[in-house]
Each structure stands twice: as structure tokens, then as C-alpha cells.
């Protein structure tokens, strides 16, 4: 069995990033077409901060929106995938370090993931 090396992780990470960006941009683009088709002639209004429409605020809302073919729900799904891309990259780094048995860096990678997770929770709280 050949030894798993740094260069192997680099190739995998490169692919994860490329695929993540490509797929999420494709989804955003398709959602954009649906959105413009349905709402293109309404007035754009971003002057005051009002948050975002309720149906794209939660995971369940986005899924329901996609099923009813709503453009902004499709766009938001693409954006969520885009945000997830670098996080998935960190997960793959962790797997790479595990295969190398580099315990120090397994710890460091898990710490980064924990911080992102806490950040996610802090958004819900307060």
C-alpha cells in the first residue's frame, strides 16, 4: 500500500473546491433565470434593511420553495452550497490528516470546524 502524501490531499482539495463552486454557481444561475422571469418587472427595493423573505430564511422554506419552483429559493440553495464548499474542504483536510496519522493537525482541523459550528449556533441565538 502506498503512503498517503500531502500532494494527494492537495489534488482532492482542488477538486472539492472546483466542483463546489461550479455546481453552486450553476444552481444560482438557474434560480436567477426563474426569478427574473417571474419578478423581472417588479421594483427593486433594497434601500432599507428588512431582512430576507420568510420563505428563504429556513431550510424547510427553501426546500418547499424549490418544489414550488420559486427562483429565490433555488438561488438561496446555491448560495448555501457555496458557503458549504470551503467548510467541506476543511472536512476533507481532516480526512487527509487522519490518513497521514498527523494527530496535531487532526486536532487543529477539528478546532476550526468547531469554531464554524459555534458561529452557526450564535447566529440562531439572540
Amino acid at each position: 500500500m502506498s503512503k498517503f502524501k500531502d500532494t494527494d490531499i492537495q489534488v482532492i482539495i482542488g477538486w472539492v473546491l472546483r466542483l463546489g463552486v461550479f455546481i453552486s454557481m450553476l444552481i444560482v444561475f438557474l434560480g436567477g433565470i426563474v426569478y427574473i422571469y417571474r419578478h423581472g418587472h417588479e421594483m427593486a427595493d433594497y434601500h432599507l434593511f428588512k431582512g430576507i423573505p420568510v420563505f428563504v430564511q429556513t431550510g424547510a422554506g427553501i426546500i418547499e420553495g424549490i418544489l414550488t419552483f420559486r427562483g429565490r429559493a433555488i438561488i438561496q440553495a446555491g448560495i448555501v452550497l457555496l458557503i458549504a464548499t470551503p467548510i467541506i474542504r476543511v472536512v476533507f483536510s481532516a480526512i487527509g490528516f487522519m490518513l497521514e496519522k498527523d494527530y496535531l493537525y487532526i486536532g487543529i482541523t477539528l478546532l476550526v470546524l468547531t469554531i464554524i459550528f459555534i458561529s452557526m449556533l450564535s447566529g440562531y441565538a439572540g
Binding site: 463552486v21 454557481m25 430576507i52 438561488i75 487543529i108 476550526v112 458561529s119
Partner: protein
């Protein structure tokens, strides 16, 4: 303005923001936020949200290319991501509580600073100084140079780490990659060769931005209708930028023009912030 016209204007503006950001190495966020807030009167929170999404797209896209070449120091990036993600989380939380005009003023200041920093002459410095932490953390590495592998060392690990926390806070607060601050931490403090520090900084930007984007997403800063043209435009612009081969002379000119434009935008952001028009 109807949504279709609004979307087209943002798409074109974002394309040029991405192109300029990529050619100068400052990133697209620096142009996109003034464009949205000053020209199109978009609320700064929406502008930050959309800009942050475009930052993730461009940095992930270009990081993919750099990682393959083997210049990026993945261990160094991973270690410093502890600092930047923690900082980004704090920055995103601060952004929720401080008034919009303060954000505009801070944005203007960082903008001027980054533009000036990008003009600085880049010297390829290689240190062989021994650092205890760098050895413990296996940060010393090598990259493929024109004549074989170049070995380099890393110094002042603690100092660089603290600078990265600050870079993370700014990124989370303003919705930019804050690449200039990251490069200062690595280039200036940790004495890492320029090629390695720029690519590693790029590699880290996506994760840093994701850490604050998860907060923004739940707070309703990331509006799909607005983010869609921004992210598509900036990414396409950055892609064209990476295809254009700039020779050193014209890129010098370009940097000067960009610095002037950026400084003008920055002063306007600060002015609007102080007079409370943002």
C-alpha cells in the same frame, strides 16, 4: 428601477469589480460595496452579505488552481484559520450591533490602507531563522521555484496569529476577504515568501468568509435576488482577470489608477458615514 434593469447593472458592475479585484489582488468586495451603497443606495448590510458570498466564490475558485501547483502551505493555512474563523465570527456578531455609518467609516479606512499596501514593492524574502512554534507545528516548508524546490522557514508565529485574528474580525465585519491584512501578517510578520503568502491567504479567505456567512445567512443579510448578480458577475470578472497576462509595466499603471479610484470611493464612504447618509 425594475428588478431586471437593477440586476443587469449589478451584473456589469460586479464583472468589472471582479476583474479589477483580480488584476490588483485586492479582491472584488472593495469595489462592490461602494457600488451598491453609494450608487444604487442599497442598505450596507445587504451589500456586505452579497460581497461576502462573492468573496467565497472567487477565493475558492482560485485556491483550487493554486493548491494544485503545490505553492499553498496547507498546514500554515489550517493553523491560521483557527485565528481567522474565530475573528470572523466575532466580526459578524459586532456587525449586527454597531450602526451602519460606523461600518461605512471603518470600511473606508481599511480600503485606503489596503490600496496603499498593494502599491508596496514585493520582495521575495526567505528566512532560515529557527522558531520553536514553527517547528512544533511543522510550518516550515518548500515550494516549487524556477530552479527546483525553495526551502523556507516561518518566524514570529504568535505575532502572525494575532494579526490573523484582527484580519478575521475585519473580514466578518465588512464582508471582504481582507487579503491585504492576511498578507501583512504572513509577509511582514512571519517572513513567508510572497508567492506562498498570497496563495495561502487566498486559500484561507473562503473558510474565513464561510464562518461569518453562516451568521449573516441566519440574520437575513444574504438576499438571493441581490446576491445572484453580484456573485455571478464578480466570479466571471475574476476569471477573465486571471486569463489576462499583465506585464509588470502596465500592472504598475493599473495599480496606480486603481489606488486613485479606490481612495476616492473610500473618502466618499467615510464622508457618507460621518454625515449619516448611509
Amino acid at each position: 428601477m425594475s428588478i431586471i434593469i437593477f440586476t443587469l447593472i449589478i451584473l456589469i458592475g460586479s464583472y468589472f469589480a471582479g476583474l479589477l479585484g483580480s488584476l490588483t489582488g485586492l479582491g472584488g468586495g472593495f469595489v462592490i460595496i461602494p457600488l451598491l451603497t453609494l450608487l444604487l443606495h442599497v442598505d450596507i448590510h445587504y451589500a456586505i452579505g452579497a460581497s461576502l458570498i462573492s468573496v467565497i466564490a472567487t477565493s475558492s475558485g482560485s485556491a483550487a488552481a493554486y493548491v494544485k501547483e503545490g505553492i499553498t502551505n496547507i498546514r500554515l493555512g489550517m493553523f491560521l484559520e483557527i485565528a481567522t474563523t474565530a475573528g470572523a465570527m466575532v466580526g459578524a456578531i459586532i456587525a449586527i450591533y454597531i450602526p451602519a455609518n460606523y461600518i461605512a467609516i471603518i470600511f473606508g479606512c481599511i480600503l485606503i490602507f489596503s490600496a496603499l499596501a498593494s502599491l508596496r514593492k514585493k520582495a521575495e524574502n526567505i528566512t532560515t531563522e529557527k522558531n520553536y512554534l514553527a517547528e512544533k507545528l511543522k510550518l516550515n516548508s518548500s515550494y516549487p521555484g524556477p530552479s527546483g524546490l525553495v526551502q523556507y522557514g516561518v518566524t514570529h508565529v504568535a505575532g502572525g496569529f494575532f494579526m490573523m485574528i484582527f484580519a478575521g474580525v475585519i473580514s466578518g465585519l465588512l464582508g471582504i476577504g481582507s487579503g491585504a491584512l492576511k498578507v501583512i501578517a504572513m509577509d511582514g510578520i512571519m517572513r513567508i515568501p510572497f508567492k506562498v503568502s498570497t496563495t495561502t491567504s487566498n486559500f484561507m479567505i473562503g473558510v474565513t468568509a464561510a464562518a461569518s456567512a453562516v451568521v449573516y445567512l441566519q440574520r437575513g443579510y444574504i438576499d438571493p435576488g441581490l446576491s445572484m448578480p453580484v456573485v455571478i458577475g464578480v466570479l466571471l470578472g475574476a476569471l477573465s482577470g486571471s486569463k489576462i497576462l499583465v506585464n509588470s509595466k502596465s500592472s504598475g499603471w493599473l495599480r496606480w489608477i486603481f489606488t486613485v479610484v479606490v481612495t476616492a470611493l473610500a473618502i466618499q464612504m467615510i464622508y457618507h458615514g460621518i454625515t449619516g447618509k448611509i
